[in-house]
């Protein structure tokens, strides 16, 4: 039962229904989804990096907190993401091993045969405990060229003991099972395990210094990764917000690929990356994002080219006599004839000014012409069917053209975004070129335009 404070004032506009004043009794679902979103946004950093960094081949989303970055040189980086809420205390070594996912990363690394081509990364926004021999020191002991090299044996022993303790409760098959003891320091460490932990630390990187929290990660990714990528790729009219949302949703979709927790890193780490298991191939494929997959999620804000160039008097395109004669023969009203001519000229100018000027324009235009022509013939056939035998149908055909010639109805594309008026202008140009009539076919050279 949640208490509700009813505070309805006299003014009806100020009244807030009690339902909106209740604090949710249990907000776990929201927290969980926020956490998953954060993890997807960290994975998005790798996906956005693919757009500008040639060395990354693909990213595989293993599970919500894990993803794998595969590099073109055959190496892979297994990444584990852990978000730390503000109210939580600093990470200490034990937290990092258990809640921070180091034991999980260690298990994945061992599953990959501790191969030389595998690197590991723990990304967390949580602050590390800086006290002597604690988490911040552990972070400095990691990597091929660690900042701190003294006390590594003691730290590796501590980490080994934490892993072995975690193994009592967690089914990590690549961590040995040892006899349970009351005190952690009494745990008997198997021979060679500390040395293995030291090798693990040498391939590990704990990324925590400038990792944004869930409140700031969206803005960080937009500013630091998406915008520079758009600039580098020279893309125009990208809707940054919508693009970013779609990329993150695509990652979440990859994360949701299966209900069962995946362990795909060991397959991806195989240097040849050749899989003979078709089921596993398909499973990985569903979770894999390539640079082109990310590019497909880009949302564009296309600007339509105006029908008439602003600030300039509309020019008159060459030709037009045939169009006039055909519209008149089809009994199209005089004002519509004049408007048709205006649109034809507007199209002429728009194409001349906005074509790309590079190879491919001609075929783009030809495809659009064919589609417009097809629509014009359909309009003519329908107008003819609707009209009484022998009656003029040009006016009706013109109205049908207006209804049906829309950019949405066209499959062909041009180097610029067009509107319905451009399409009608093109249709009238085709008519002027004698591709179709607004009446039965006649000899335009003998007809006098009125």
């Amino acid at each position: 039962m949640v208490d509700v404070a009813v505070d309805a004032g006299d003014d009806a506009d100020d009244f807030v229904h009690p339902i909106f004043q209740r604090a949710p009794g249990e907000d776990g679902g929201t927290d969980t989804s926020r956490l998953y979103r954060y993890q997807a946004e960290v994975a998005a950093q790798a996906c956005l990096a693919m757009l500008t960094r040639d060395e990354i081949e693909f990213v595989v989303c293993e599970w919500h907190e894990d993803f794998v970055i595969a590099f073109k040189n055959g190496s892979v980086e297994l990444v584990s993401v852990k978000h730390r809420q503000y109210h939580r205390t600093l990470w200490n070594v034990g937290d990092l091993c258990k809640d921070g996912g180091l034991a999980h990363l260690f298990n994945s690394w061992r599953a990959c045969g501790s191969a030389d081509n595998v690197r590991l990364r723990l990304t967390t926004n949580g602050a590390l405990n800086t006290s002597k021999g604690n988490a911040a020191v552990l972070a400095k002991m990691c990597g091929p060229e660690p900042e701190v090299t003294t006390g590594v044996d003691a730290m590796a022993t501590t980490v080994a003991q934490y892993f072995l303790k975690i193994r009592w409760k967690q089914p990590y098959p690549h961590i040995p099972v040892v006899t349970e003891t009351k005190k952690m320091t009494d745990i008997v460490i198997p021979d060679g395990f500390v040395a293995t932990i030291k090798r693990f630390l040498a391939v590990l990187h704990i990324d925590y210094k400038s990792v944004p929290s869930s409140r700031f990660i969206t803005d960080h990714n937009l500013q630091q990764l998406l915008r520079p990528a758009i600039l580098a790729l020279e893309l125009n009219h990208v809707d940054e917000g919508a693009t970013y949302r779609r990329i993150v949703e695509r990652i979440e979709q990859a994360n949701r690929g299966e209900g069962e927790r995946g362990q795909l890193a060991e397959y991806i780490a195989t240097p040849s990356r050749v899989l003979h298991n078709v089921q596993m191939q398909q499973r990985i494929a569903r979770r894999t994002l390539y640079p082109h997959t990310v590019r497909e999620e880009f949302v564009y804000r296309e600007l339509t080219v105006p029908t008439f160039t602003p600030g300039r008097l509309p020019m008159v395109a060459p030709g037009g006599a045939n169009l006039r004669k055909k519209l008149v023969r089809g009994h199209v009203p005089a004002d519509e004839v004049a408007h048709a001519e205006t649109l034809r000229s507007a199209w002429y100018v728009a194409w001349a000014e906005h074509r790309s000027g590079l190879p491919g324009d001609s075929s783009d235009l030809a495809n659009m012409r064919l589609e417009v022509l097809d629509t014009a013939f359909d309009c003519r056939a329908d107008a003819q069917t609707e009209a009484a035998e022998g009656s003029p149908y040009g006016a009706r055909m013109n109205r049908l053209l207006r209804q049906r010639l829309t950019p949405e109805a066209m499959l062909a594309t041009l180097p610029f975004k067009i509107n319905s008026k451009h399409l009608r202008g093109l249709a009238y140009q085709l008519c002027d070129d004698c591709d179709y009539y607004f009446s039965d076919v006649f000899d335009v050279s003998e007809e006098e335009a009125s």
Partner: protein
């Protein structure tokens, strides 16, 4: 003539017209790109990268834009190579931003056609390098002597002299010096 046969005749006419336009269009672009690659091929290197090719070609197609870069760098046009009145008007009347941008892939057909006729070669690897062949060099020399292409050929020499930079450097130069040529909200600095 029935509606159907009229439709077929019109479609055939449009397709025929498109074919001849495509041929004409391809020849025009191929000639210009050939001159550019010829100019940038030396004994040791060729024209490195599609981005560089596209950016140089942008400046070649829009001499009014090239003129702005030249002026800013304190360079002048060699006598007789300045933009014509028509070329200046063309840039003023066109929204050039639509001519600039992710158009690089449109060069594939041009380069493929030149390579297929043994006029250029392009290297394998991450960054393609385009080089003129012996027969390509003869074709470019012949072309340069025609009145239609002599001016373009002179302008490629100007590009080689002042703008023989990497594709990335040319891209940055165009973005920074010709912001109106690219359709981008320029104030969204990172």
């Amino acid at each position: 003539m029935s509606n159907a046969s009229e439709r077929l005749a019109s479609e055939a006419r449009i397709k025929g017209q498109a074919r001849s336009e495509e041929r004409r269009e391809a020849h025009y672009h191929e000639a210009r790109v050939l001159l550019l690659i010829d100019r940038f091929t030396t004994a040791r290197t060729g024209l490195a990268g599609l981005t560089k090719l596209a950016k140089l070609d942008f400046l070649l197609r829009y001499p009014a834009m090239l003129e702005r870069l030249l002026k800013e760098s304190g360079h002048t046009w060699p006598r007789g190579t300045e933009p014509t009145a028509a070329e200046r008007r063309a840039v003023e009347s066109r929204m050039t931003r639509y001519k600039y941008g992710p158009w690089d892939q449109r060069y594939y057909s041009v380069l493929g056609s030149l390579a297929a006729r043994d006029l250029i070669t392009y290297g394998e690897g991450d960054r393609a390098e385009f080089r003129i062949t012996a027969s390509g060099a003869i074709a470019a020399a012949t072309l340069s002597e025609t009145p239609e292409w002599a001016l373009v050929s002179h302008r490629t020499a100007l590009l080689k002299k002042h703008f023989d930079k990497s594709g990335s450097a040319l891209k940055t130069l165009i973005y920074e010096r010709l912001p109106d040529a690219v359709d981008r909200p320029w104030r969204t600095e990172i």
